[in-house]
Amino acid sequence: MRRAFDEDLEALQNQMLELGSMVAEALARSVDALKRQDMEASRQVIRNDPKINEKRFAIEADCLRLIATQQPMARDLRSIAAVLEIITDLERCADYAAGIAKITLMIGKEPFIKPLIDIPRMLEKDLSMLDRALKAFVERDVEAARRIAAEDDDVDSLYDQVNNELITFMLRDPRTIQQATRLLWVAHNLERFADRVTNICERVVFTVTGEMREMNIQEPEVEPQ
């Protein structure tokens, strides 16, 4: 009796995974284009962003159709609600990629003030977290979701590292301020990306347990002077 609905739910999940890969690819390309200071590749990332938005709206429409026609209950309802949230996070993640591409265009061809080391590390961490978070959703793996969310701390410390390093540059040579600020924004986007992945992890827990709880809440820290 509910085979058709199960197939619909699976198709919905596959669409979400597809959106996830589009987002991962956008982020990877944006950082790669930054590293190579490739303007055309950056423009390509920006031009591609509307396709990601469209995909997100298409999935949203599917969710609403399933809610209207199947009147889902309990776990089914939670999983569709989770997909609605996750695609919003993914769409925002794609905006971070487009943001990085725009910064690359601003920096242009001027030589980097320093080799990019931690930014590619942040990228790698982001992509790995996203990939595993979506897998945890598919497998309804609460434990994995909790572990992945905890890794947000690693991304935060990389960000702090980039931040401190760039401030040192700016203090030493005010001519670096413009580019250093831009690179700081790149790092900031990558840091926010991981926060969004944490939201996805929260949705995994919600889908399985019905619990709505923030993961990885941090006390606001005051930097020691």
Binding site: R2, Q71, M73, A74, R75, D76, L77, R78, T209, G210
Partner: protein, 255 residues
């Protein structure tokens, strides 16, 4: 505040056990829905709440059913008075083959109300409460059976209200009605729940989800017919049920 409470309620049709150890507290002036697959005992349970099952020979209830703290199965219970306090609406509308007026006036007359203007007042108030007044006020002498099914069901509700009950039991009151008539009954239930405690048996899970405050899920298994599996606020039962059997039933994964 609990209006009805059962403790270790068991029920038997002859030797056949039909309810197993039901413990539930039904809150006052709320709508409680009973859901579950056919044969799970939800109608049997409903009919225990005003001893309607007494009318079936060779049946037996064990355990306690309290109405406002008084055991309705105690030997001193006045069953006629009990059924006035706990009224019932059935699956198919069952108006008497008489006028609209006489249908609603029937109960008050039985209770000894004869004054013409008092009766007229009770009939009007009851029809208004049942949301039927505007549709029938121009011809209260018309035959009740000439009304549409949805109107007949609201007439039956008016007939129950006319004797000033405290609880209204509804056994699948919308199963014979079209969607619009169904929504009218649901709106009516919502309005009535300000004054009355309502318990409704429904096969329609969406109806339970949209029209009730609390939901009880009942189920039978090979050993025990008529168990209460889960009871809680409707919003919780339909979004995060505690028992896997409830989850399986409401998501259609049952069996």
């Amino acid at each position: 505040m609990d209006k009805i409470k059962t403790e270790h309620l068991y029920f038997y049709y002859g030797k056949k056990q039909a309810l197993w150890d039901i413990n539930i507290a039904i809150p006052e002036r709320q709508i409680t829905a009973l859901i579950g697959p056919s044969g799970c005992g939800k109608s049997t349970f409903l009919r225990c709440l005003n001893r309607m099952n007494d009318t079936i020979p060779h049946t037996r209830a064990e355990g306690k059913v309290y109405l406002d703290g008084e055991d309705i199965y105690s030997p001193n219970t006045n069953v006629v008075e009990l059924r006035r306090r706990v009224g019932m609406v059935f699956q198919r509308p069952n108006p008497f083959p008489a006028s609209v007026f006489d249908n609603v006036a029937f109960g008050p007359r039985v209770l000894g109300l004869y004054g013409r203007s008092e009766l007229a007042d009770v009939v009007e108030a009851s029809l208004r409460s049942a949301g039927l007044w505007d549709e029938v006020k121009d011809d209260l002498r018309q035959d009740a059976l000439s009304l549409s099914l949805g109107q007949q069901q609201r007439l039956c509700i008016a007939r129950v209200i006319a004797v000033k009950p405290e609880v209204i039991l509804m056994d699948e009151p919308c199963s014979a009605l079209d969607p619009i008539a169904t929504l009218k009954i649901e709106d009516l239930m919502r309005a009535l729940s300000k004054e009355y405690t309502i318990v409704i048996v429904t096969h329609n899970m969406q109806q339970a989800a949209r029209a009730s405050d609390f939901t009880a899920f009942m189920l039978s298994d090979a050993q025990r017919t008529g168990q209460l599996i889960e009871f809680g606020p409707t919003a919780e039962v339909f979004t995060r049920p505690q028992d896997k059997r409830t989850e399986d039933y409401i998501t259609g994964r049952f069996g």
